[in-house]
């Protein structure tokens, strides 16, 4: 595992990670965001969220007792791990970059390929992925929460269930509830566009916003609207990142994927264990050939805190990302129709980066590098 840089370690000491950190999103937090979507079958309560955080950080939910959700989604690192691809149990390397939990509640699907429809459903997969937590089933987790006295009490308070009634779905609902509190708008951009503070953005960032909406063409996928901005269209696009790994051998790779699926291997396992299968993108979920190489549009909120970028973490800095789009992505027959060379000037690129840096929410500004 990568050694933690001293600066980050220092931050870990100053940012108190305690139950007091969990709070239901307030009005200020949500400047620039719509209300947090909450499913009818899992109303959001503080009890559930506090319990969810505890579960999120519990390392017992792994085959060797070292991995918790927080291992890849580190609260002190803007809820991601700063690595190109994540490393799970025994340092096993996956194929994909860990997305931040911040504002994940606003996605209509979870994972880079949208293979799970909700935060609840997503939370259960990593526990039983051999590359992540490495458990063979959810039973050990259920065993822990049913026997640990603190958990027994917390589950009763949160869900009104007796220990014998606790299931993995309660665990999932609690974790999802915690994640629904890890939301924030209220960045300099939000204060400028929605809060009426014309001084909130630097002149460079103001110019960058114009590029974002204009020549940069970013806004069509990284959505900004009149009173809120999700910075995602909740859709899937092929930018060509990593596509060259599979482009020449698509028929064989697709056949291999279909074979694994027919043999009962979960998509979750297949895509994280094999680089080539990972590059199939959304195709692995829909089976539609026109979805080859498509990945979910990430929100850009707090993007300055969540390097490296793209589903395989192959772009290290925001400057590299801007250059990548300026060149028109990586050309391939399945390249998204919205991606093309932009002809940005050096000034426009720098301004765009300045704008992206203004998307850091004040709530999470002290996390990350």
């Amino acid at each position: 595992m990568k050694p933690i840089p001293a600066t980050v370690a220092g931050l870990c000491l100053t940012v108190a990670v305690s139950a007091a950190e969990v709070r239901l999103p307030g009005k200020r937090d949500l400047l620039g965001l719509p209300p947090v979507p909450v499913p009818a079958d899992n109303p959001l309560t503080l009890e559930k969220a506090v319990l969810g955080k505890k579960l999120f950080e519990d390392r017992r939910f792994s085959a060797d007792g070292t991995i918790s959700c927080a291992h890849c989604h580190r609260p002190e690192l803007a809820f991601q791990d700063g690595l190109p691809v994540s490393e799970g149990i025994g340092g096993r390397k996956g194929t994909r970059n860990a997305p931040t939990v911040i504002n994940a509640a606003y996605y209509t699907t979870q994972f880079w390929d949208g293979r799970r429809p909700t935060l609840e459903a997503q939370s259960k997969d990593p526990f039983v992925n051999p590359i992540e937590h490495g458990l063979k089933s959810h039973d050990p987790i259920v065993g822990v929460v049913r026997s640990d006295p603190a958990y027994r009490q917390a589950f009763e308070r949160a869900f009104g269930v007796k220990p014998a009634q606790i299931t993995i779905d309660h665990v999932a609902r609690a974790i999802a509830s915690f994640e629904r509190t890890v939301v924030a708008g209220d960045s300099p951009f939000d204060r400028y566009l929605y809060g009426g503070d014309k001084n909130a953005l630097s002149p460079a960032a103001v110019r960058g916003l114009a590029v974002f909406r204009g020549k940069g063409r970013c806004v069509s996928c990284h959505v900004i609207e009149a009173s809120t901005a999700l910075f995602t269209d909740n859709d899937f696009h092929n930018l060509g990142v990593g596509f060259d790994r599979i482009a020449d051998r698509l028929p064989e790779i697709i056949a291999a994927f279909r074979k694994a699926k027919a043999a009962g291997k979960p998509v979750d396992e297949a895509v994280l264990s094999q680089q080539e299968l990972s590059e199939l993108g959304r195709f692995a979920v829909t089976g539609e050939v026109s979805d080859l190489g498509k990945f979910k549009t990430s929100t850009l909120r707090n993007i300055a805190l969540t390097a490296p970028y793209m589903h395989d973490g192959s772009l290290k800095t925001l400057e590299e990302v801007v250059d990548f789009y300026d060149r028109g992505g990586f050309d391939n027959p399945m390249l998204d129709g919205g991606i093309r060379p932009l002809g940005l000037t050096a000034q426009e690129k720098a301004d765009l980066v300045a704008f992206l840096k203004s998307l850091t929410s004040s709530r999470f500004a002290t996390t990350g590098r």
Binding site: S220, V289, S290, P333, M334, L335, G337
Partner: protein
């Protein structure tokens, strides 16, 4: 041969030509599936409008559409028996454009059947196409189905003669909303050829006509039209199952006229609006059609795509491969005797993006 498959069990076959049309419908079951039929699948790529900019440069947008279609057809499982190229491979009929198109299509694994479009034809009156690509009209049989390919984009001689240069002639046919345009024609020569060609076939043989322009009248201002369409329809009238597949309109469109089912094929290049969106002129857009979703111009492939056609049901089912949209399946309904969209035909099932104005 395959004809026998259809004559078997259809003892009244010989009467088909003489009975009034409605009786033919009932006794030979236009509403029922043919007794024996081998199903097969074929793909349809159309309207790529490759545009030459100079040197080796082409408009990137339209190149991308064709490249994507070729890659997807090659990944089809099961593999199609053949691919139809529906016309308008080039934008201005230039050799550079046609050659570029041939190069991109050379990657296609299944064999190609070619249909010419007006954008391919009017620069040199189809000479390069005929020399290098394909005859302009022809027919072939495949697994018991008789396919006829028509050059339906001819037009009146006096309009052709009007233009001082080939480029002007091409440009005036290329402009869709041209007030100085001229309606498409199949023409006398082809009508005679068609009559002779069809005479060899029994009324029970399924007939599929491939043409670029629609062989019925939708909207004259944009040449969604063939002037002698009724004469073609008349020649097809005696057959029990006729399907016309056409391009040119760059949109989801389907209709039923008598015994003929019409399906429009998608364009890989760009979507056209529906004629209902031009309010200054009346239109005859078939009421049957459930419109495709309105396209977002940011996403260049929105509103474009290609088609997969199969005969599993006994009639042609059109699986519209709509990039960036949910695919649509339009199939022949044997009870209603016309095509229906399998998901959206019921007016209560329509969704907002299907509303064009």
């Amino acid at each position: 041969m395959k004809r026998r498959q259809f004559l078997k069990g259809m003892g009244l076959a010989g009467l088909g030509a003489t009975l009034p049309f409605s009786l033919v419908e009932i006794s030979f079951g236009m509403g029922t599936k043919p007794a024996e039929h081998e199903s097969f699948t074929f793909a349809y790529i159309s309207d790529s409008h490759l545009t030459h900019l100079g040197g080796t440069r082409f408009t990137r947008n339209f190149d991308q559409g064709l490249r994507k279609a070729v890659m997807e057809v090659n990944l089809m499982e099961p593999k199609p028996d053949f691919v139809v190229y529906g016309g308008d491979l080039a934008q201005l009929g230039k050799r550079e454009e046609l050659d570029h198109g041939l190069e991109l299509l050379s990657a296609l694994r299944p064999p190609i059947k070619w249909v010419i479009g007006e954008h391919d034809f009017y620069l040199d009156m189809g000479r390069y196409w005929e020399d290098k690509i394909s005859p302009l009209h022809y027919s072939f049989d495949h697994k018991g189905v008789h396919f006829v390919v028509l050059n339906s984009i001819l037009t009146y001689e006096d309009w052709i003669a009007r233009w001082p240069t080939a480029e002007e002639r091409m440009a005036n046919m290329a402009r869709l909303d041209n007030p100085h345009g001229s309606p498409f024609l199949v023409g006398e020569a082809q009508l005679r050829w068609l009559q002779e060609d069809l005479a060899k076939y029994d009324a029970n043989v399924p007939v599929v006509v491939l043409s670029h322009s629609p062989l019925y009248k939708i909207f004259k201002p944009w040449n969604f039209w063939t002037d002698d369409a009724e004469r073609v329809q008349k020649l097809l009238q005696r057959f029990h199952r006729v399907t016309v597949l056409h391009g040119h309109v760059h949109q989801v469109l389907y209709n039923q006229i008598g015994n003929i089912t019409f399906y429009a094929m998608m364009a890989t290049a760009w979507p056209w609006p529906y004629p209902v969106s031009y309010v200054q002129k009346p239109n005859q857009v078939p009421k049957l059609t459930v419109f495709m979703n309105r396209a977002d111009p940011f996403h260049e492939r929105d509103g474009t795509g290609w088609d997969i056609l199969d005969l599993d049901s006994g009639a042609i089912t059109n699986h519209y491969q709509l990039w960036l949209n949910e695919n649509r399946t339009v199939a022949f309904d044997f009870k209603l005797k016309h095509p229906v969209d399998l998901k959206y035909q019921d007016p209560d099932k329509r969704i907002p993006p299907q509303f064009h104005y």
